[in-house]
């Protein structure tokens, strides 16, 4: 329900996606599944980029990312998010900001 809503919001935004070169990656998927109790990235990401699958896996699709940095900072116990800015010119392109 809530995911559908955020997609509607993101639909208004402008992006130049760097296909095949995500600027954020999960370092070790096992840690998310087995060691992280809250998986708060699936709650806190304002673009809903992180989803929790039935088997407890966290899946990241960074196409809608607004480059805020939330996921990296809240993952302070496991430091399991490798976070870089997109290549120059790629990623979110705010029309109004």
């Amino acid at each position: 329900m809530s995911t559908a809503k955020v997609e509607e919001k993101l639909f208004q935004n402008r992006y130049r996606v760097d296909t095949g070169r995500p600027h954020i990656t999960i370092r070790n998927a096992e840690i998310c599944t087995n060691e992280c109790a809250d998986q708060q990235c699936t709650v806190c990401c304002p673009a809903g980029c992180y989803t929790l699958e039935g088997n407890g896996r966290v899946v990241l699709i960074s196409d809608g990312c607004m480059e805020c940095g939330t996921c990296r900072i809240i993952c302070d116990e496991h430091r399991n998010v490798a976070w870089e800015y997109p290549r120059g010119g790629y990623g979110i392109l705010f029309k109004f900001g």
């Binding site: 809530s2 208004q12 935004n13 304002p46 809240i74 870089e84 290549r87 109004f96």
Partner: protein
């Protein structure tokens, strides 16, 4: 060929533009690197522009800067689920030029500011991400970019790279930001006819209104909401500390959706066309979270240095002022033929300490601790204050003395008398 500049400025936001403009204006060779397609395309702000900070850099900015509305009215609301208690301050003094504050749309404003920077003589290169700092021992000597052969050198690198401050973290100038030191804000821009905005907010011409909100809209989290009037659009948003977001299950967009449904807010935004949804972190750690902002060959300005006054919702003015002061320090040292090393750049921090930037942050240095440790401020108290108001205003045959007693009982049931007094004292100390 090894290209070398007097200064490299990383980022073309408020602080980076202020720094680059000041440096270029003084005749220094400046390279400014921006990762967005154009200046502003990566930047998010509420946004309110504070004239004073910009005036000290570009005195005649009003001639051609893209400004939305000058603000004549400030509303502060404390919200319960169905109501709010508020104060409004409106003054015709604010309706006389030169205006003190304006709403702006950052993508447009940043383009304008950047144009000024380039006219002053700085070289701007967009679509270029700086990936790391080039070091010679302890000293920063340049930057590496994601362009081929993209290494450039300078006597000083000014980091205006925003709240995430990745470059300084990678270089170990400071640690990764803690969740308790940043707030996550989400916002939307809703377009509607100018006349609708003017009648809904009781303004005319280019005058505008700001609404700052606290209370149950943040579901007990430490945070605030806001609604700003632009010329033909409204900006509505809500932000809370990441450490609080981390401990609950409401998504940021659900929080914003729920806020938009509040009966006091909904009619104000009704019928608008939403054209963008944005998210951004705000460095709200305050004085004690300000990192080291200078060293051999480098300085930090703006959000990257935690220069944000969360109490007064000021950021862009601290950003511009820190950018200007960093540049002025460089100009002064260069002029005197002194090296741009840690020892000499210390005067940048000293100048910040002596200015409103760090004086204001210092004044509120204990506030984050008071609020973090106390969930009552964002849930219980807004509720109690609203209930008290309701009780006093509702006419139902109950005498006023009994009503007062009910209100008092309501307060002490929710929070002990000692708790109430303690909170009042802590708050007074923190704001003192």
């Amino acid at each position: 060929m090894r290209e070398k500049f007097d200064a490299i400025v990383v980022g073309a936001g408020a602080s980076g533009n202020a720094a680059a403009y000041t440096l270029a204006k003084a005749g220094l060779s400046v390279l400014q690197l921006e990762r967005g397609e154009s200046p502003g395309s990566k930047n998010v702000q509420g946004a309110i522009l504070y004239s004073d900070a910009l005036e000290r850099i570009i005195p005649d900015f009003r001639d051609d800067a893209p400004l939305e509305r000058h603000l004549i009215e400030q509303r502060m609301w404390v919200l319960d689920d169905e109501s709010f208690v508020g104060t409004h301050y409106r003054s015709d003094e604010f309706n006389k030029p030169p205006y003190n504050r304006y709403t702006i749309i950052r993508a447009q404003f940043d383009k304008w500011f950047s144009q000024k920077v380039q006219e002053a003589g700085a070289l701007l290169i967009c679509e270029t991400t700086v990936t790391e700092l080039l070091m010679d021992g302890k000293r920063v000597i340049g930057v590496r970019t994601d362009r081929e052969g993209g290494e450039v050198y300078a006597d000083i690198v000014i980091l205006a790279d925003g709240v995430n401050s990745l470059l300084a973290t990678k270089a170990r100038f400071h640690y990764e930001i803690a969740p308790k030191n940043v707030a996550l804000a989400v916002k939307e821009i809703h377009f509607m006819p100018q006349e609708t905005i003017e009648s809904r907010f009781n303004v005319s011409g280019d005058a505008g209104v700001v609404i700052e909100m606290a209370g149950k809209i943040t579901k007990g989290m430490m945070g605030t909401g806001f609604l700003y009037t632009n010329k033909e659009s409204l900006t509505i948003g809500v932000g809370c500390m990441l450490s609080d977001f981390k401990n609950q299950k409401i998504t940021p967009y659900q929080l914003l959706e729920q806020m938009k449904e509040h009966p006091s807010i909904k009619p104000l935004i009704e019928g608008g066309e939403m054209k963008e949804y944005a998210a951004h972190l705000l460095p709200e750690g305050g004085y004690n979270a300000v990192p080291k902002v200078y060293g051999d060959g480098w300085m930090i300005v703006g959000d990257s240095g935690m220069f944000l006054n969360s109490v007064h919702r000021e950021g862009s003015n601290l950003a511009m002022t820190s950018g200007r002061m960093a540049a002025e320090t460089v100009i002064e040292l260069k002029g005197a033929g002194k090296p741009l090393d840690e020892k000499h750049l210390a005067r940048y921090r000293k100048n910040l300490d002596d200015s409103f930037v760090l004086k204001d942050l210092k004044k509120y240095r204990n506030l984050p601790t008071v609020f973090h440790a106390n969930p009552y401020f964002f849930n219980t108290y807004p509720e109690l204050v609203n209930q008290a108001m309701h009780e006093m205003i509702k006419v139902d045959g109950i005498d006023k003395k009994t009503k007062e007693k009910n209100i008092r009982r309501n307060f002490t049931q929710k929070r002990s008398l000692f708790g109430l007094m303690g909170d009042a004292y802590k708050l007074w100390r923190a704001f003192e």
